[in-house]
């Protein structure tokens, strides 16, 4: 194996720039696409000004909730500046949260808590207002419920008395814990599931795995190029058979790509705060094993690089279509579930390992290795 590594190294030295380009393409490409998409999403958000006359915990919670709306770009500023920006149409609408907000909520009063401003070009004033009103409504309802629970407890003569804050805190906690309607994409264990605000963004791992699949296939073109060179005739007079040489090299490509997979996981974790656990290297190992073996088998089938590239591209295109629901959740309906199940990347996209496809590829490779040679080269 050392000898095969040394011979491959001679090629890699010559192809260093090209090799590096292909190895870095998935990571750079996926970050670029992700950033561009996020930038585009930012551009399409409605700019809203918030004037906070009160900074009580309840007021800040409301601000937090509004800020995390995927369609709003919220800027906190003073009233004069906000109205000026509204006047020159830099803001769609402005909302002023008046002082005494928390106290009014605690008292169950939901009138005149906020003031909204809009211009003649405001397009999102009404839906934003409705959203903010619903958030305020939620808080007042919670407050009312707290008073009701307190009243019931008092009427029942319970010894243990709960404060308003305790009831509201418990209500908030239960809402968070039992968020049954929330379904999130998760690359790795449930604990690492994405935050709700990230749900509508492109999934970085899904973009990466498609680019990486394409690169893993394309990098196997050495098999075709070396077949064309006619050098294989020499392997009959060497220590290694041509098949051993091919397999040894495929193994080297596997390890090279796997090292880059691990680098990608670390970079995504550091730059994009994606999850990284002890399970990550295992998932990536299984993925790379599948991609390398599939690319290897595909390359063995072709004599011309162009046909190989075209077929590889078509295969990745099919995978992209089949992975659509993971790239953008909701892109496919449940009727296409059978189609999605055929996608060998589906398990990876859901944080799991595909055992059957790599096993099938390895079986085919074993069959190829031990099959009767057509020629005795």
């Amino acid at each position: 194996m050392k000898s095969i590594l040394q011979t491959r190294w001679l090629h890699w030295k010559k192809q260093a720039a090209g090799l590096l380009f292909w190895l870095l393409l998935p990571i750079v490409g996926s970050i670029l696409i992700h950033t561009l998409f996020q930038g585009f999403q930012q551009q399409t958000k409605v700019p809203v000004g918030m004037v906070m006359e009160e900074k009580s915990p309840m007021a800040m919670k409301l601000l937090h909730d509004i800020k995390h709306s995927p369609t709003l770009q919220v800027q906190v500023m003073d009233e004069a500046e906000a109205l000026h920006l509204l006047e020159i149409h830099k803001l769609d609408s402005v909302f002023v949260l008046h002082s005494g907000y928390e106290e009014e909520i605690r008292n169950g009063n939901r009138d005149e808590l906020l003031t909204g401003y809009r211009s003649n070009l405001s397009i999102a004033y009404t839906p934003v207002k409705e959203m903010i009103v619903s958030l305020v409504q939620e808080e007042t309802s919670r407050s009312k419920a707290a008073y009701t629970i307190k009243g019931i407890a008092d009427a029942a003569g319970k010894k243990q008395q709960w404060t308003w804050d305790e009831i509201v805190d418990t209500s908030n906690r239960i809402e968070k814990e039992e968020n049954l309607l929330l379904t999130t994409f998760s690359f790795l264990p449930a604990a690492d599931s994405l935050k709700p605000q990230e749900k509508t963004t492109l999934d970085i791992w899904a973009i990466w795995v498609l680019l990486h699949t394409l690169v893993s296939f394309f990098l196997m073109d050495w098999i075709i190029k070396e077949k064309q060179s006619g050098v294989f005739v020499r392997f009959s007079f060497m220590r290694y058979s041509y098949r051993q040489y091919l397999l040894g090299n495929a193994l080297l490509y596997f390890f090279l790509l796997y090292i880059f997979d691990l680098i990608v996981a670390v970079v995504f974790h550091v730059v994009l705060q994606t999850s990284f656990s002890l399970y990550t290297p295992v998932i990536l190992f299984a993925l790379q094993l599948m991609l390398t073996s599939a690319g290897f088998l595909l390359a063995l089938l072709f004599k011309h690089s162009f046909t190989f590239y075209s077929v590889s591209f078509a295969v990745v295109l099919m995978m992209t279509l089949a992975s659509g629901s993971s790239i953008l959740p909701g892109a496919f309906g449940s009727s296409s579930a059978w189609f999605l199940r055929l996608n060998p990347l589906q398990n990876f996209l859901h944080g799991g390992i595909n055992y059957s496809f790599p096993a099938f590829c390895l079986l085919l490779i074993t069959g190829w290795y031990f099959s009767k040679r057509k020629s005795i080269y």
Partner: protein, 224 residues
């Protein structure tokens, strides 16, 4: 001694080689001639154990070459008709590449010496920039890395200049006479064959080659 006995090869109903028998001693150069399609390359491939004969025996010393292909191949150096090199790598890297996979390990100096013996001095040049003659020399040099006893050359001088032909010819003569290698050589160049080979074997029914070669003071055998 390399011995061929009754080597016959059929492709379907067509007989390419029929009952070819000859032997080769250490230090001897044998030329294989014949018209295109006569079976020279097929015979060379059979001797190289790259093709199986339909009938016959192939023996090298104690080794039955048809039964023990793997061990027989350690003694064979095969120079293919087509250039089998890594075009983007240098002469040095080509030699190093094949040395790493070879039965025998040589250091860089020894590898370079093989090239120098063949008057291939452009050690660091990429193969793609070499002339046809230089490429042919490297094609041959690689086949010599594991120091084979039998050297099989399939038209090694095709399409190259006279200077390179002479250099290759004198190198092969030196290899046979000084190092005792057995060399089998195919070519269409009758002058080269007459000059280089101790013995000439005409393959095929065409008597043209035997007539052309008859004036040469050589041992000529005609086989069908």
């Amino acid at each position: 001694m390399l011995q061929l006995e009754g080597i016959t090869k059929h492709y379907g109903k067509k007989t390419i080689l029929h009952d070819i028998s000859f032997s080769l001693q250490a230090g001897e150069i044998v030329g294989l001639v014949g018209e295109n399609g006569a079976g020279k390359s097929t015979l060379l491939k059979i001797i190289a154990t790259l093709d199986k004969p339909s009938a016959g025996k192939l023996q090298f010393g104690e080794i039955d070459m048809l039964k023990n292909r793997k061990s027989a191949r350690q003694y064979i150096g095969f120079v293919p008709q087509d250039i089998a090199l890594w075009e983007e790598l240098s002469v040095k890297d080509n030699m190093r590449f094949f040395e790493k996979l070879s039965w025998k390990h040589l250091n860089e100096k020894q590898l370079q010496q093989i090239c120098l013996d063949m008057k291939l001095e452009k050690w660091l040049e990429p193969v793609k920039t070499l002339s046809g003659g230089m490429k042919r020399k490297l094609n041959m040099a690689i086949s010599l890395i594991h120091d084979p006893t039998i050297l099989l050359l399939d038209e090694p001088t095709v399409g190259i200049d006279l200077k390179s032909r002479i250099e290759i010819g004198s190198f092969l003569t030196k290899l046979a006479k000084e190092k005792g290698k057995m060399i089998i050589y195919t070519s269409h160049d009758m002058d080269e064959i007459k000059q280089l080979c101790d013995r000439i074997i005409c393959i095929g029914s065409d008597s043209f080659y035997s007539k052309v070669l008859s004036r040469a003071n050589k041992n000529i055998v005609v086989m069908h």
